[in-house]
């Protein structure tokens, strides 16, 4: 077990290294002049570009530049963000809580809803309930997140005036800005900070602003989970141990929920990595459309302004997320599946 985890850990460190090389390779397709522009913050400095190239060694061989870059990155220096008008590292921590908050609310819904719908769909295979959940899944799967978000905004903001874009209503946002001494950003997540600061109105308002983004995101993402769970249940129910359980006198509930479902959860855990990737992609679209200034929004804005350091930072962050998720999946898998636990 420990050697297994350790082996995975080494492998994932290697992946992270590979990701950084890959990203740096992409960065190096820029000419030295374009990369030098990243260090320019004021128009006056523009004429210094040849000096900057020399100073930072931007025309050195790949590996020298890579080592220099990785040294900087490990010291937390990721460059300058045009969109945020501050260093990338600092800007990251400003945007990250917004995205994290949304994902923290959406993830449990996606996981439990997907498992639940997938189970009933697989158990009652070919019944109307199965057909309707499958139709729901395939439509959700076919909806482009950004388009669905726009339509929801059009209906629920434009027509019904029920929800609005952004993260907080203007009045509350102004009240925070006008009285900074009364509000401390402990976590950066408004629903939590609101409560910590004794401002339930802020927390509630932020939650209200989360309804549409989470709905969009859940409907688009939940299909994957559901589909894997459904086919898992169908497969498990056809196995011999189910017959043993029936011959033992087990009732349907026990067979479905105690025997088949636990086994069917294993493939669901393996797609968790894909789920995390999908939720990042979903976050970008949702944040762009609903104007929530999280890292997805930041990424899209920076991409349109060709702001490479931000893209590098987020790609590296995604690599890190990938590593952490996979390690978690491995550990989770090993705790559920005894066949791995002892090997």
């Amino acid at each position: 077990m420990h050697t297994f985890i350790l082996r995975r850990f080494f492998f994932l460190t290697f992946v992270l290294f590979g990701v950084s090389v890959l990203l740096f390779g992409i960065l190096m397709t820029f000419s030295p002049e374009r990369r030098a522009a990243a260090y320019v913050t004021t128009p006056q400095q523009a004429k210094d570009i040849p000096r900057i190239i020399k100073q930072f060694g931007l025309d050195d061989p790949f590996y020298i530049q890579y080592v220099r870059w990785i040294k900087e990155v490990s010291r937390g220096n990721l460059g300058w963000s045009l969109v945020a008008a501050r260093p990338v590292g600092e800007a990251f921590w400003r945007y990250f809580p917004i995205t994290l908050e949304m994902n923290l609310y959406a993830a449990p819904i996606v996981i439990f809803l997907g498992i639940w719908l997938g189970s009933i769909s697989g158990i009652h295979r070919d019944s109307w309930i199965d057909h309707s959940t499958r139709i729901f899944a395939i439509i959700g799967w076919s909806l482009p997140t950004f388009l669905f978000a726009l339509v929801l905004l059009m209906v629920f903001y434009g027509y019904f005036h029920l929800f609005s874009p952004g993260v907080l209503s203007d009045e509350l946002a102004m009240s925070i800005i006008n009285h900074p001494e009364q509000y401390t950003a402990y976590t950066g997540m408004l629903t939590i900070d609101g409560l910590l600061n004794g401002r339930p109105d802020i927390a509630l308002n932020a939650l209200h602003h989360l309804v549409l983004p989470i709905t969009t995101y859940v409907i688009v993402v939940v299909a994957l989970n559901m589909r894997v769970m459904r086919s898992g249940i169908i497969e498990e129910l056809s196995k011999d141990y189910v017959l043993t359980a029936r011959a033992k006198g087990a009732d349907r509930r026990t067979i479905h929920y105690k025997h088949a479902r636990r086994n069917a959860l294993l493939p669901v855990i393996t797609v968790a990595g894909q789920l995390v990737a999908m939720s990042m992609e979903g976050s970008i679209a949702v944040e762009v459309v609903y104007n929530r200034q999280g890292i997805g929004w930041w990424l899209a804005e920076s991409a349109t302004q060709l702001d490479m350091p931000v893209l590098m930072c987020i790609c590296l962050f995604m690599g890190l997320v990938f590593v952490v998720t996979n390690l978690t999946i491995d550990i989770l898998y090993a705790t559920i599946d005894p066949r791995i636990r002892l090997n």
């Binding site: 017959l243 029936r246 033992k248 006198g249 025997h259 294993l266 005894p338």
Partner: protein, 392 residues
């Protein structure tokens, strides 16, 4: 002889894309108290379908469509049988594993891979012996050195008392579904595990208290089959159905398992219904034998009778195909293959391969003929119609 299980005209069909597979075409047999009944035939002839139909655990797209499966729970009263095909699913859940249980061909697949051995065996007790076990736990709780008289202890005692009276009590069922509260069942589960260890030990597995903590992949095939048997035997059923239980095991393990079954029949269970394609196993273990071909029962007889005086041409061919120690001449095989059951041959299903087929065999299905001495056969060779001039 007193019957334990009797099937009459059992019919099971599978509805597939290729058409309706007529897997069972009216099977009638009787398993007596205290006997071992062997069901033999080539693979695909419907032996497994037959026993699964009896227990009503046929999987989609199969359906039991006719006949009777009558169980006589009281050997002294042959009038009061219960037709399983008329009972509710809940009744059968009650019966399976308690009165009739089953072991399967493939021990590697028959156990849930992510549940410990102990839990899987204990399930049998938890399904069927709840009342008894609750009473036992209650006894232990009431002893003076039991847990203190805290309100929680009293609540626990109360629940066990209710469960011992009626395991389907509303309060009891309710509390087993609520997280945290459901932990009152801890002692019950412990009791079930204790019983599991006991039964596993009885089946000759060393260190049963360690084995219960293991998972199926830790055990060898023979061990797993013993565990499957332990699950089936947990509640001392009347009838044990063994569906090719030894076919996938090494010869030595096979012998051990057969010995085990034989000795169990003397102590734990009343009767065994043994399904196999191995005539050697039949000769060694069974009292009575039924020979199946393509969804039909061709011949039923006592084991000695069948081996010395086989009547049905298929039985004869089957026996001729068994290699013998003092083999003289070539081993005979049966020409042709088992027919496709979507479109079975008209009349007797064996006629295309039968050396003695007559005209009537192609047209009409033969009636079962009583040859005397509890020997029945379904073949026109022995009917009056055939003798009356319908020459081969």
């Amino acid at each position: 002889m007193t019957a334990l299980l009797q099937t009459e005209n059992l019919v099971t069909n599978f509805y597939t894309y290729e058409g309706v597979v007529r897997a069972l075409n009216g099977i009638s047999l009787v398993v007596d108290y205290g006997s071992t009944f062997g069901l033999v035939g080539e693979s695909g002839c419907g032996k497994s379908v037959a026993v699964r139909s009896m227990m009503r655990i046929i999987q989609e797209p199969g359906r039991v469509e006719g006949g009777k499966v009558v169980v006589f729970f009281d050997p002294d009263n042959q009038q009061r049988g219960v037709d399983l095909l008329q009972q509710s699913e809940a009744y059968l859940e009650h019966l399976r594993g308690d009165q009739i249980s089953m072991i399967f061909q493939e021990p590697n697949a028959a156990l849930n891979p992510i549940m410990s051995i102990g839990d899987q065996v204990a399930e049998s007790f938890l399904f069927h012996k709840r009342k008894e076990m609750c009473a036992r736990v209650l006894e232990a709780l009431r002893r003076p050195d039991g847990p203190s008289a805290s309100p929680l202890g009293a609540f626990q005692r109360h629940l066990y008392a209710r469960a011992a009276r009626n395991p389907r009590d509303l309060l009891v069922t309710l509390t087993t579904k609520i997280p945290l509260l459901k932990h009152w069942q801890r002692r019950l589960k412990k009791e079930a595990l204790r019983r599991s260890i006991e039964i596993i030990g009885k089946l000759g597995i060393p260190n049963p208290d360690k084995v219960v903590k293991l998972y199926p992949h830790n055990l060898s095939g023979g061990m797993k089959q013993r565990i499957v048997i332990a699950i089936a035997l947990a509640c001392s059923p009347l009838l044990l159905i063994a569906d090719e239980a030894t076919s996938n095991l090494d010869v030595t393990i096979q012998a051990q398992i057969l010995d085990l079954l034989r000795s169990l029949k003397q102590t734990e269970i009343a009767s065994i219904l043994l399904i196999t394609h191995d005539l050697g196993v039949v000769a060694e273990t069974c009292d009575r034998v039924g020979v199946m071909y393509a969804g039909n029962l061709c011949e039923v007889a006592d084991v000695g009778d069948l081996f010395h005086d086989p009547r049905h041409p298929y039985t004869r061919a089957l026996l001729a195909a068994v290699p013998r120690f003092h083999q003289e001449g070539p081993l005979l095989s049966i020409e042709g293959a088992v027919p496709n059951l979507v479109d079975p041959p008209a009349g007797c299903r064996f006629h295309p391969r039968c050396p003695e087929a007559r005209d009537i065999c192609r047209r009409q299905f033969p009636e079962t003929v009583d040859m005397g001495g509890d020997h029945t056969v379904a073949c026109y060779l022995y009917t009056d119609q055939a003798r009356a001039g319908d020459a081969p």
